[in-house]
């Protein structure tokens, strides 16, 4: 599975063919979560708490049950009892037990013959609440006297004496930062905050589920991981995993937010009760109130630097608010913070803090963008005050192959220096800045992930190829899979069809997360193709009456490996496939494993921004992403990941935030008030693909989806701070904040 040094000339990899699902997606034929129906189908709605924290005294569903068209009502009593660990957390989050823990927490659900009938009946569900004190801010939640979200939720990692809302702690590093600070010519320590943001996928969560009285079920849903959905639904409904078949629909964006399970068990519970198929589609306000936000953070970062730019020591405390459940990505935040730099003295501490907010979910490199914002802002300020070039300083301190990482291991072959050098050479970095504009630089890091993966590759009788993978295609990965299969088999790209298999068709596949799909399903595809090639060579060898070892595969044909093997004409894949029924039966290659060696990824971003001093509004005028892809299989979709990550980062840095009022209710649960970037907000986003091969993939692939969102918050904050002449330490940098900062400076 290691990087194949021999494979350095590609025929298909690196080209830009049309994606195989392109026509489906531009004609409206592609079927997403909400696009299917079933005979006798019911429509469901979920009733949600209007309170941030309240004891549920009583739920009276009798009037709703009697309403026109209503076929089933469920509450917590309709789900499995006695769960523990993360399954309990998931159930508690998707249907409240004793308490509603945040504004929008589900308390009951209704299925009726139409969505209008279900909505009408929802008003008839009577819930009696006893309102409890609440807390929604991360720093407030850690203070003495703050309302306790759940007693006993903390694990053994939390130091004694901390508030019960602090539920997990991470502490890592090496050396002694104090010693490092003593060696520095300048030490800066500042506090930074970021607000919770939503992944903002345009497709709301949607599913269609059927569960019969015999415990057998079918589920169609938009998810990043249908095997995980299968496993969670089985646990929460107390049914056997294999009796539920889950099919992943086309997915209208996820970015981590569709790795979690929110509605599928509810639809199945309603279906079981009504014995009819149930469709459940989340309204957008519910998506904001009850799914996905990322953690908000409060972070203290301290860095010491010598006059020559050497970083002598670094430390950080990262407090991550993850809503009413444990799980805020504080260890990732801490571990990513100083990862780009080679440091003798470094320490990072993370805290996972509970509040009365929705359970946070992964959002593209969870934790890393916030950490980079704090760390890279301090480095920028040090560069400014010491009169140093921001790229030279980063190059001077950059992590390289063999460097001991801030969180422990030593780096394998990595491409941070290459991204910094490419950024320095890019015309953007040396372009003159207009009066009043500012430029910002930032590096970013993400681990990347591999995960359990199973792939099957079956030949058709005409020699074309049916590839089945288990990772939902969240951004064009079918094209990359077809390309890697075509490359490994030596067949045309058009001869491969890639299907996202359902849970009954392949072995377990981990979620499409951690930037793992092109790496892990790609690796598995290449290995399955090589398995197929071995079988093809065997068929040719049998026909020629020679040993299988004496046959090679080249350009889609079996050939004798040398003159001693015999003199036979090349035997094309089509010829072998046409006779496979008579020569030993179907030819199917497969691969199942949990690969290791995902290969970390680094990026460097350059941003120019202008700040309107009258309104406080920021315009991003130029943006360049430089990132190591290892090997870009389909460069257009790699560029797309770079551009998309940058755009999401621009939203996070400038506009997007969860706004809670004193009553603990979310104030902006819609796209009008939670404003993601629109076309007129953004410039073109330039991209540079750096390729430092990943030693852990046959073609050198590194995941690219997440690293692209790691540098933007910091790069934009640095550009805005340099434009405004004042350090911006709180995101988002909405106009009011910038005006306040400008006023405070003058």
């Amino acid at each position: 599975m290691a990087f194949d040094e021999e494979t350095n000339e590609f025929k298909v990899v690196g080209t830009r063919p049309d994606r195989p699902d392109g026509i489906d997606k531009v004609t409206g034929r592609a079927r997403f979560g909400a696009d299917v129906t079933a005979p006798g189908m019911l429509h469901a709605v979920i009733i949600r708490s209007p309170h941030a924290h309240a004891r549920i005294v009583k739920i009276n569903t009798s009037n709703a049950e009697a309403a026109h068209g209503v076929k089933a009502v469920v509450t917590r009593a309709d789900f499995a009892d006695g769960l523990d660990g993360e399954n309990w957390n998931i159930l508690e989050n998707l249907m409240a037990g004793e308490c509603a823990l945040y504004d929008g927490h589900a308390v009951a659900a209704i299925a009726a013959t139409s969505s209008l009938a279900a909505r009408d009946a929802a008003r008839l569900v009577e819930v009696e609440y006893e309102v409890l004190p609440h807390v929604t801010d991360v720093d407030d939640a850690m203070q003495e006297g703050a309302p306790v979200i759940r007693e006993g939720a903390a694990d053994g990692s939390v130091p004694a004496g901390m508030h019960p809302n602090v539920v997990r702690c991470h502490d890592s590093g090496h050396g002694d930062p104090e010693e490092g600070f003593a060696e520095a010519d300048l030490v800066i320590e500042e506090r930074f905050t970021t607000e919770a943001t939503h992944q903002g996928y345009i497709e709301p969560h949607a599913c269609l589920g059927t569960l019969g009285p015999d415990g057998r079920g079918e589920l169609w849903c938009c998810t990043q991981g249908h095997w995980n959905v299968q496993k969670v639904c089985a646990a929460l409904l107390d049914i056997e995993t294999s009796k539920l078949r889950v099919t992943a629909s086309e997915i209208g964006g996820g970015f981590g937010g569709k790795t979690a399970v929110f509605i599928e068990p509810v639809a199945l519970a309603l279906s079981r009760k009504a014995n009819r198929p149930v469709k459940l589609v989340m309204p957008r306000a519910d998506v904001f109130r009850a799914t996905g936000p990322t953690a908000s953070t409060s972070m203290d970062v301290k860095i010491g630097m010598k006059k020559d730019g050497t970083i002598t020591g670094a430390s950080g405390v990262f407090r991550c608010q993850g809503g009413a459940f444990p799980g805020a990505p504080m260890e990732f935040t801490a571990m990513c913070a100083f990862a780009p730099y080679s440091l003798k003295h470094v320490r990072q501490i993370g805290y996972d803090v509970m509040t009365n907010r929705p359970k946070q979910a992964a959002y593209r490199a969870p934790g890393s963008p916030m950490a980079a914002f704090a760390v890279e802002s301090v480095i920028d300020e040090l560069c400014n005050r010491l009169g140093l070039d921001p790229i030279d300083v980063r190059l001077k301190n950059a992590s390289r192959e063999g460097t001991k990482a801030s969180f422990g291991p030593s780096w394998d072959r990595i491409g941070l220096v290459e991204t910094l050098e490419a950024a320095k050479e890019h015309p953007h970095f040396s372009a003159p800045l207009p009066e009043g504009a500012g430029r910002g630089i930032s590096c970013g890091f993400w681990f990347n992930h591999a995960g359990e993966t199973a792939v099957q590759l079956a030949l058709s009788e005409d020699g074309t190829v049916q590839l089945s993978v288990g990772t939902p295609d969240i951004g064009g990965s079918r094209a990359s899979m077809c390309m890697m299969a075509a490359e490994a088999l030596g067949v045309p790209y058009e001869d491969v069809r890639t299907t996202i298999a359902d849970t009954a068709t392949l072995g377990y596949n981990e979620i499409s997360h951690g930037s793992r799909v092109t790496y892990a399903s790609g690796l598995a595809t290449i290995e399955a193709a090589r398995d197929t090639v071995r079988k093809l060579c065997k068929r040719a060898a049998d026909k020629w009456g020679i040993e299988a070892e004496a046959v090679e595969w080249r350009d889609g044909c079996a050939i004798p490996s040398g003159p001693n093997a015999g003199d036979f004409d090349p035997m094309p894949i089509k010829e072998i496939a046409s006779r496979m029924g008579q020569t030993g039966g179907p030819i199917v290659g497969h691969f199942e494993a949990t690969p290791e060696g995902a290969g970390v990824s680094f990026a460097t971003h350059i941003v120019d921004a202008e700040v309107d001093r009258e309104t406080g509004a920021t315009t991003v005028t130029r943006y360049t992403v430089v990132q190591d892809a290892g090997k870009a299989i389909h460069p257009s979709y790699v560029e797309g990941q770079y551009q998309g990550g940058a755009a999401q980062g621009i939203g996070w840095a400038l506009n997007e935030e969860y706004i809670y009022d004193d009553d603990g209710r979310l104030q902006n649960a819609g796209f009008l008030d939670y404003r993601i970037p629109v076309a007129s907000d953004l410039p073109m986003i330039d991209t540079v693909i750096v390729e430092v091969p990943n030693p852990g993939h046959p073609y050198g692939v590194r995941g690219v989806g997440e690293t692209s969102i790691c540098p933007p918050l910091a790069a934009i904050a640095n550009a805005v701070s340099n434009a405004a002449g004042v350090r911006m330490q709180d995101l988002p940098m909405r106009p009011s904040r910038i005006l306040e900062a400008l006023k405070a400076r003058s």
Partner: protein
């Protein structure tokens, strides 16, 4: 229920709808034209964009009953038989979609733009499409695809 007579993608259609039912729901649930998507239901995301008498509208903000006697065109009706509309071809060629959920609304909105302005500037495309949210692409490749399609359509006429 209200009886609605309308034309969708050139075909006469007769519908029985709840007075509260949106045009989007009628298209999706009654005519099985699921190309238009509901991203928000409040007219903020543009995923449900269709043409009503040639004008782009958020079909989640139009009642089905309001389509009475009018002509509706959806993403399913912008190709000419097996020939894709130039915008559809250019979106594939430029990799202007990742997940594809916003694509139907953006294609319909862009078609309306090019019918009104065959030679738009980048800024004009950006402002015209400002009501269509895309979370995946950062819009770069979308804008390039629209400008390229506009160029090709100008050459063809």
């Amino acid at each position: 229920m209200i009886h609605v007579s309308t034309t969708v993608n050139g075909d006469a259609q007769e519908l029985l709808c709840d007075p509260r039912e949106t045009l989007l729901d009628a298209l999706r649930d009654r005519l099985e034209l699921t190309g238009a998507k509901e991203g928000c239901g409040t007219g903020d995301c543009g995923a449900c964009t269709v043409l009503l008498n040639g004008r782009p509208v958020c079909s989640c903000l139009v009642l089905a009953a309001e389509a009475e006697g009018h002509e509706v065109r959806t993403v399913e009706g912008i190709a000419d038989g097996e020939d894709l509309h130039p915008l559809q071809r250019k979106f594939i060629e430029h990799a202007a979609l990742q997940c594809g959920i916003c694509t139907p609304g953006i294609l319909v909105a862009a078609k309306a733009l090019l019918e009104r302005n065959p030679d738009p500037s980048e800024t004009e495309v950006r402002y015209w499409l400002a009501g269509n949210l895309c979370r995946c692409t950062g819009y770069d490749k979308i804008i390039r695809a629209v400008l390229d399609a506009a160029g090709e359509m100008r050459e063809a006429t």
